[in-house]
Structure formats: C-alpha cells, structure tokens
C-alpha cells in the first residue's frame, strides 16, 4: 500500500484523474442530491481521498449518520474532530463535524439571544422544542454559516460539505443575499415572516384591533395557542436578527470559482429526475456543477473478462446484472446530456461501487475512497 494512496493506475476509472484535480484545486466542494442517494457517504469518501493525497480537509456533514460518524471515529456535534488517517501523503489531514439538529438550534439560540434568561425561556418553550427537532431550515442555514467560518480558516485547504437531503436546501442559495433568500423560503415561512408581520402590525393588532382577523384565526385554533405562539415569536426575534449578520457572505463564497458543486445520484429514474432538477436549479443560480457521483453501481462490470463472468451466471442473476448495467448506462448518459446542456461540458463522472452500505471503520472507507 503506497503512502500516497492512489498510485494504482490500472484500477482507476477514466474520471479518476479529473476528480483528483478537482480535489487538489478547489477550496470548497458542495455535494448536492436527493435523499437516500448516499450523499453523506460520498462526501466522506471525497474528503478522505483529498486528505490522503495531502490536503488539509474539513468535512462538514449536516445529515448526521451515526454509522458514518462511528466509522470515522468521531462523535456527532458542532466541533471539528480530527479523523485518524493511515499514511496520508505529507501534510494531509482530515477533520470532520456532523451537525446535529437540536444541538445546532440550541447553540444558535444561546449565541444570539439577548440574555441567558431569554435563551433559557426560549429553550423551555414547547413550541421551540417542537421546532428545534422538526425543522431543517435553521440546520441548513447553520451549515452554511459554519461553512463560511471554515472557508476562511487558515487551518484548512479544502472544505467538503453535504447539503440537506432535499431540494429546498437550494432555495436559499438562489438569492443574491441570504437575507433576501430567507424572505421567500420555508425557513422564512416558518419563523421570520410571522415575526415581521406581527412586528409591523403589532401582535396586539392581530389579537385585538382587528377583531375579524383574530376571530377568524381563533375560531379554528383557539386563543391559547395563538397567544403562546405570538410570545414565542417575539422571543425569537432577536435570535433571528442574529442569523442575518452571519449569513450575508455565504452566497459570494459559494459562487467563487474555487467552489465546486458535485451532483450525487444513484442509477434509478427517480434519482435521475431529482438530479436533473437540481442541476437546472444550480445553473439558474450561477453555481457550477463540476461533476457527477453515481453511487451503488454494480461492481466489477468494467473489469477485463466481465462479459464472460456475466454469461456464466445462472439466468436470474445474469438478467439482474444485465438490466442493472443497462440502467446505469441510461441514467449516466441522460445526466451527462442534461449537465452539458446546462453548463459548459462537464465530463467528470465518478462511479462508486455498491457496497451494500458496508463500511464500519476508516480502513473500509479508505479502501472505498481509493477505488474510484
């Protein structure tokens, strides 16, 4: 096993040198894709590969997979933890943080609330407790704020970040600034809009002066919920203003030419549709999609002699492999077609073998990271 890690050319795919160039030249890599396509794992694999080749890498994951955390040998949480690498190229290192929703939310409240007392009150609020465990918006936001911190941290050469398992993560990347983005998206819908609305109108107006309005709302929900919710939002107002300050530079960082977006998919039509949609969205926002990671590919099908192996299989297994291979090819071709029409030609495709989610330690992750 060579210390540089990726010397074995014969095992490498055509995309290998391109991906290594990308890992060498970019400062930020953002992984995007639908839910359940292995985005978090792919992020870890790219981070490991870059670290093994000598870069100082920070991996930021916001979809905390306990299994991946334990394979990396780190805990869940906000802090960057060093990951032990075996024989990385000189200078290479990997740190990782797996943001946990509740912890992120609590930390944000503690940081931005005007006093400890108010922070405590917010955190005791049942609405807050429900919000902090069920809302992904603030987590997404926090991931970007954390990304901003890491991007300007001289201790790292490359930050690899995975995004939430859905398309609405991208909603707030759309706007020229994060504040404006907040106004239009789900996060906004959830917290800020009612606060602004109530701040402007005065909560008293909604509750009292406009009796028609209050009566209409209360006839459906009852006054108790309305009042406690209004109070909660007023408490949160200061916290929300804190969000803005940290968020404004993020978009510029993401549009920088040293930032790359990588689309993650699996060989299914549903994943292909999601990926095409995401690619279009990113192109609209002037973010550059630099490559494609296809997870769960059938292993060994491009090896010499694979055709003979396939023919020797029993019919059920043979059909299964053949159908799967042609599906992979269709999905990849379609994605490439869509990617190159939406931007300059992007030919970087990394196929990652289906491992049946089989990794349990750094050894198996590193093997997987060097295999593509």
């Amino acid at each position: 096993m060579s210390s540089a890690g990726f010397a074995n050319q014969s095992q490498q795919q055509p995309g290998a040198s391109e991906i290594d160039a990308l890992l060498r030249n970019k400062n930020i890599i953002v992984m995007v894709g639908a839910g359940g396509v292995g985005k978090t794992t792919s992020s870890a694999l790219l981070a490991i590969r870059a670290a093994m080749s000598g870069r100082r890498v920070a991996l930021l994951s916001i979809d905390p997979a306990k299994r991946l955390a334990s394979a990396l040998g780190i805990g869940l949480g906000h802090e960057m933890n060093a990951v032990a690498l075996k024989n990385p190229a000189p200078g290479g290192s990997l740190h990782a943080a797996m943001l946990d929703q509740k912890a992120v939310f609590d930390r944000m409240v503690r940081t931005h609330a005007p006093s400890d007392k108010i922070a405590e009150r917010i955190m005791r609020d049942p609405l807050y407790r429900s919000a902090s465990t069920n809302l992904s918006g603030p987590l997404e936001y926090m991931a970007l704020a954390r990304l901003q911190e890491l991007a300007s941290d001289p201790a790292f050469d490359l930050v690899v970040v995975d995004t939430p398992p859905d398309t609405h993560a991208l909603d707030f990347l759309k706007r020229p600034n994060v504040l404006a983005g907040f106004m239009e998206n789900r996060v906004m819908m959830w917290i800020i809009k009612p606060v602004l609305a109530m701040g402007k109108l005065g909560i008293g107006k909604i509750l009292g002066a406009s009796e028609k309005l209050a009566g209409g709302v209360a006839s459906v929900t009852g006054f108790g919920a309305l009042r406690s919710f209004g109070e909660f939002l007023l408490l949160m107002q200061e916290v929300i203003e804190g969000f803005h300050k940290t968020g404004e530079q993020v978009v510029a960082t993401l549009q920088h030419k040293k930032t790359a977006f990588i689309l993650v998919a699996v060989p299914t039509r549903a994943a292909e549709r999601s990926a095409v949609f995401l690619a279009d969205q990113l192109a609209d926002m002037d973010y550059r999609v630099d490559g494609l990671v296809i997870n769960r590919c059938m292993p060994g099908t491009s090896q010499a002699g694979a055709g003979g192996v396939i023919d020797s299989l029993a019919p059920r297994a043979r059909d299964f492999v053949k159908v799967r291979m042609s599906g992979e090819e269709k999905v990849i071709q379609n994605l490439l077609k869509n990617l190159s029409s939406s931007r300059k030609k992007s030919r970087l495709v990394v196929k990652i073998d289906d491992q049946g989610a089989d990794f349990h330690d750094m050894g198996s992750l590193t093997r997987l990271a060097r295999s593509f």
């Binding site: 919710f229 090896q303 002699g305 192996v309 059909d319 299964f320």
Partner: protein
C-alpha cells in the same frame, strides 16, 4: 445462516393476483387490497416506497376497485411513473381505475375550511390572507393534522359516488411518518380548541379502524435497513393509531440458496453477488424472527428488478408483485 429457514423455494412465482394465487402472503395482499379503505406505505427513504405504492394501486385497480394514489412531496414522484406531468394538488386520472394527487398543506387547509367546515366566506375574507396563512403554516402539527384529515375526508366523508374504494398513501419516510401518525394524539393534548380538536378526534377514531386502515412497511434486505425496521416496527405499533398490517421486503437480490448460481469464477462481480446474497439471507432471517411479534400480518418479498424504467407498463404489478419468499406470521 440457515437456508432451511426460507420456507419454500425462493423462485415461487404466483405470477399475479389471479384467483388461484390466494395462498401465502399473496393471499393476504389480495385481502388487504380488496378490503381496506386506506393503506399507508412507509419505510426508510430510497427503498422503493413509491414503486411499491404504484404497483399496489395497479393490482387493486385490476380487481375493479377505484384507487386514489396520494403523496405529499415537494415534487411529484408518482405522476412521472404514469408518464404524466406533475399533477400537484389536483386529483388526476392516471390510469384505468387509478387517480393520483400530490397533496400540499395550503390546499389541505383551504379544503378543510371551505369544503368540510363549509366556511367559504371565512376562508375568502380572512383565512386566505397571506399573514394568516403564514401564521397557520407555523403551527407545529397543523399541516400533519390537515393531511390526515384530508385522507379521512376522502375515504369516509366525501359523497359515495365521488369516493375512491381504496386510498394508497405513499407516505413520508419512517421518522417523519411516525410524527405524522402521532399528531392526532399530540393535538388532542395540546392548547388547540374548536373544530380542529373535535375533528382530530374523529380522524383518530377513523385511523384506529383496523378493518379499514393499515400500514404497510417497506424495507430492503440489507443489514442496516433491517435493523432500522426491527426498531421501528414496535414503535409504530405502540404509537400509531393505525395498525401495521404488512411488511414488504423489496429488492431481494438473486439468492445463492435458491439455485441462482454465481459460477465458480473468482471475480469482483461474483464476490459482490455472493456477498449481497449472504447479507440478504441474514437480513431476511433477522426480519423473520422480529416479524413473529406481529401475528397475522402480511409478510412478502419482492425481487430486485435491477432497474425499472418509466413510465411503468400498465401491468407492471404482474412482474413486480411476485413472491420471492413466503412467510406468514
């Protein structure tokens, strides 16, 4: 791993839901599709819930039932499988006997106020107001309650001539599904009052009707997915008003034990197939043990088709809903 634990050859293919195919789990699938009013299909993300939901809808429609396929997604997942453009919050004819809709929270809320409460004027003058809408969108649990309410309305309240015989709800993934199903209890115990409280009580009673409503849990025979299933199934049983009525194991790979030879050769591909087969066997064994805690539920396996192109053929269910394993609790 004991090969003997797989009851019957793994290649048993009953073909379809023809009258002869009444034995084993296919029989109980027929029963479920023929008698229930509402079936929730849930499971971990990315394991084929939508495909299973659509295949079940096709199978039920083939027996003459009127089926409504429901999802609630940011973008339509079901419509493309029928070759349709996104349908959004509009019931749309998708195939013979099958309609589909992608419910959204705002639409559910509007229909609850206007159609169910009959408060068209209240809605138009007050509740359609942007500020009020954004207020409602912020109340935890309200969107979930409206979603369940909408399903109840569709299955049980709507005029009979306009009512589907069976609603199949391609539901959110496990964790979100559990919060969806625990919403009625949470609302009944919350500070809410008025019609929502009253109607949530009705919805909960409807969901508890075992003969009408059930949950089908979909998983795949992978160690991690099965571990999640083993943890999740008792939790559903304990917390959800609707009962678990079936477990479907999707994407069962070619199994070595069923005579699906992988050849003697030593190659990456063959190693992979062997390993997947071994893992699937182990996962199925684990699941079989855990499923015994749920007597009487349907337990069936579907083979991994490798790749499924869309739009689906109208008789897709005939190739898909063939049994890989038979085992009844």
């Amino acid at each position: 791993m004991s090969e003997g634990s797989a009851r019957g050859p793994a290649h048993t293919t009953t073909g379809d839901l023809s009258p002869e195919a009444t034995e084993g789990s296919m029989g109980s699938l027929r029963g479920l599709l023929g008698t229930r009013k509402l079936l929730f299909v849930t499971g971990k993300g990315g394991i084929g819930k939508t495909l299973v939901s659509v295949a079940l809808a096709q199978a039920a429609a083939a027996t003459g039932r009127k089926v409504l396929l429901v999802e609630s997604s940011s973008r339509d997942q079901i419509a493309p499988l029928f070759g349709l453009d996104p349908v959004g919050h509009h019931e749309t004819e998708a195939a013979n006997g099958i309609r589909c809709i992608n419910l959204n929270a705002a639409g559910n809320f509007r229909e609850y106020i206007t159609k169910y409460l009959g408060q068209v004027k209240l809605f138009e003058t007050v509740l359609s107001h942007r500020v009020v809408q954004s207020f409602f969108s912020t109340i935890p649990g309200l969107a979930e309650a409206m979603m369940l309410g909408r399903l109840y309305y569709t299955c049980d309240v709507r005029n009979a001539d306009d009512r589907p015989d069976l609603v199949i709800c391609d539901s959110p993934a496990s964790g979100h599904f559990l919060s969806l199903m625990t919403t009625p209890d949470a609302i009944v115990g919350s500070g809410l009052a008025g019609p929502i409280l009253r109607d949530t009580g009705k919805v909960r009673d409807f969901l508890r009707r075992k003969q009408d409503v059930g949950i089908i849990y979909v998983c795949t025979p992978e160690p991690l997915v099965v571990s999640e299933a083993v943890e999740f199934l008792p939790e559903i049983q304990e917390k959800s008003p609707a009962v678990l009525c079936g477990v479907i194991v999707n994407r069962i790979p070619p199994l070595a034990s069923s005579g699906s030879g992988f050849g003697a050769g030593d190659s990456v591909l063959v190693d992979y197939l062997r390993e997947r087969s071994a893992k699937a066997q182990a996962a199925l064994d684990q699941l079989r043990v855990s499923i015994k805690k749920f007597p009487g539920i349907m337990f069936m396996g579907l083979r991994d088709l490798g790749f499924v192109d869309d739009p689906l053929p109208a008789d897709f269910y005939r190739t898909f809903l063939t049994e890989e394993i038979l085992d009844q609790g």
